[in-house]
């Protein structure tokens, strides 16, 4: 198919449709309103259904019901709305339902602002809801990648019977870039039949029950361990990351995800021109985090710089990966302020000139 110039939000919506998703439940919130608006317009055209939920709480429970019926479904929101879904997400994970959740992050905490941010990293990767569960978290850096990952998200969700989050910031949502959808696409995972769906029982099998309640602690423990085994499998099989400029020698390794990594890539180009050797490591899956891959990439560097639109969240995973093997620097902006290539270049130059590492454990 030909390339089309699309907003990230629209590309995400179209990608869902291309992935066979016919159901969307969601509530308006900036900066992702174009997703529900796109779905409201497009879904009826493909025989699907758009429902504007009364709230994000309701939306998270509507996708639960739809997923439990075996249909592909997604919701999307932005930070405060995602917070409201935490109970629902925990239920979805506990009941092992395949759903896709899009978070187009804005600055917080509280009402905060509506400009781009990456300060929901902890919530997305460690679990903002209660209990031991994990989301598989995908972080695109371009509109095309958002479209691609969005399609994979449905396959991953179905394969693992687990909620998958596509985590973008306001830039990904609002930016327009050329996007191409493949005419034919093969799922990125084999898709097991959904024998577990609750869609009526004629008595020819035991009833199917979508549920996360296990009153017997031994049974619940087994359930917890089953979930854990699933997450371990994701850790083994689903890590995705990319690097930029690692094919040439580098002194400083920049670690960033999402659109911030884009900004860093421009900075690295500029730095090369100035003769400073620096490379970029970009986690694409935030859970599972590419610990081993990052550690290997950092071996070749003298120091590491983490760049985030937050006061420092992914940096904890970077520390876990490096275990003190390299000094770690941090460059963060908050509140919707963006990081410019210039700011990155400047900090990398300073580090390569010998800037000492800051104190740990802020």
């Amino acid at each position: 198919m030909a390339k089309k110039l699309m907003k990230g939000c629209e590309a995400i919506g179209e990608a869902a449709i291309k992935a066979g998703c016919k159901l969307f439940f969601g509530y308006p919130i900036t900066p992702q309103n174009e997703i529900p608006e796109y779905m409201a317009h497009r879904l009826p055209q493909v025989g699907g259904t758009f429902v504007q939920a009364e709230s994000e709480v309701a939306a998270s429970n509507m996708i639960y019901g739809a997923a439990g019926s075996g249909e592909r479904v997604f919701t999307s929101s932005s930070s405060p709305g995602i917070s409201l879904m935490q109970e629902g997400i925990s239920y979805i994970a506990g009941s092992e339902l395949p759903v896709v959740i899009v978070n187009i992050m804005r600055a917080g905490p509280g009402l905060g602002g509506i400009l781009p941010s990456q300060s929901d990293y902890f919530q997305a990767t460690k679990g903002g809801g209660h209990g031991d569960y994990r989301l598989l978290v995908l972080a695109p850096w371009s509109v095309q990648e958002a479209a691609d990952l969005m399609q994979d998200a449905f396959d991953l969700a179905d394969y693992y019977r687990n909620p998958v989050m596509v985590l973008g910031d306001g830039l990904i949502g609002q930016m327009m870039e050329p996007v191409e959808f493949k005419a034919e696409r093969t799922p990125c995972k084999p898709l097991p039949p959904k024998a577990w769906v609750a869609t009526g029982c004629s008595g020819d099998r035991p009833t199917n029950i979508i549920n996360s309640l296990f009153l017997d602690p031994e049974v619940l423990e087994r359930h917890n361990q089953k979930l854990k085994a699933k997450y371990d499998l994701m850790v083994r099989d689903e890590v995705r990351c990319a690097s930029y400029g690692t094919d040439r020698p580098y002194e400083v390794l920049v670690v960033a995800y999402g659109t911030v990594a884009r900004v860093c890539s421009t900075a690295l180009d500029d730095l090369r021109e100035d003769g400073v050797g620096a490379a970029l490591f970009r986690p694409i899956t935030l859970f599972p985090f590419p610990y081993a891959e990052l550690r290997a990439a950092a071996e070749n560097a003298r120091a590491v710089l983490v760049v985030e639109l937050s006061t420092g969240q992914m940096i904890e995973d970077v520390r876990l990966a490096l275990e003190g093997s390299r000094p770690i620097h941090f460059l963060g902006r908050q509140g919707g302020m963006l990081i410019s290539p210039e700011a990155v270049s400047e900090r990398v130059s300073a580090i390569s000139a010998g800037l000492p590492e800051e104190v740990r454990h802020g």
Partner: protein, 261 residues
């Protein structure tokens, strides 16, 4: 002469004992729902939504597929199911804490969207499962663990009448209130439930039947006394009957004449 079974466990009710307290009428309501599902021949395409409350294990007690919803969110889950699979018969079974307290937004909006589902709303004027706290439906003066001196309407207001509240919405619906504290009330309750499921099966409208129920354990009285308590205290505040039918009429209350106030 051949013996015929006149009364027995309906097919749609699983052949297992429940965990309900002795004399708790959740059990009666379960059976009525199951009988209706059987009689209308819907079991093979029925999906129940269990609430969080004493009836949380409803998914074990019906022989239909089930989804267990988060506390108060059964109408949202039911919406998800019905929109995904309009061919299914979807019913949500909810307690009064679940539906009328934490789940108020979901039930109002589900009813207002006119989702073609059926809600069985079990009003026992208390939080059974968590040990007897005040519900939005707790009667004036009724003692619970969180209103140890009795519900004080000057501080926490009057009990909410859910059927009446939902009946004022403009979207067509079937809304009724029934009870099961005597066998004859249960017969009427079943009739209401039958209408509710039939409206759904015919794709007509949203339907909700509020059923007054007992909680002998947390009311602190023997089951028989609890049934009398329903008659004496609940029925006067919660009148039984049909509040709304899907006749397309607009029943919204009108403002008082301008002279008023």
């Amino acid at each position: 002469m051949a013996e015929t079974v006149v009364f027995a466990r309906p097919q749609a009710l699983a052949p297992v004992p429940t965990h309900y307290c002795p004399g708790c009428t959740h059990g009666v309501i379960h059976r009525l729902v199951a009988e209706v599902v059987d009689e209308l021949g819907l079991a093979h395409r029925t999906v129940g939504i269990a609430p969080v409350g004493c009836s949380v294990l409803a998914y074990n007690y019906f022989s239909t597929d089930f989804q267990e919803a988060a506390h108060g969110r059964a109408p949202a889950v039911a919406t998800g199911v019905k929109r995904a699979r309009p061919d299914l018969i979807v019913f949500a079974y909810q307690g009064d804490g679940d539906l009328a307290s934490i789940g108020m937004a979901e039930i109002v909006h589900c009813a207002n969207r006119g989702e073609k589902i059926t809600v069985v709303f079990v009003n026992n004027a208390i939080y059974g499962m968590t040990g007897g706290q005040m519900a939005p439906t707790t009667l004036p003066g009724q003692v619970t663990t969180t209103c140890p001196l009795g519900r004080d309407v000057s501080q926490v207001g009057y009990p909410i009448r859910v059927a009446e509240l939902l009946a004022t919405l403009r979207t067509p619906a079937f809304v009724a209130r029934a009870a099961v504290h005597t066998p004859l009330h249960a017969v009427t309750a079943k009739e209401m439930l039958r209408r509710a499921f039939r409206y759904q099966a015919e794709g007509t409208c949203f339907s909700l039947v509020e059923v007054l129920s007992t909680c002998p354990t947390n009311w602190g009285m023997p089951p028989v006394e609890a049934t009398e308590w329903v008659e004496k205290n609940m029925v006067p505040y919660y009148p039984l009957g049909v509040f709304k039918t899907p006749d397309g009429l607009d029943r919204a209350p009108r403002p008082a004449p301008a002279t008023e106030g």
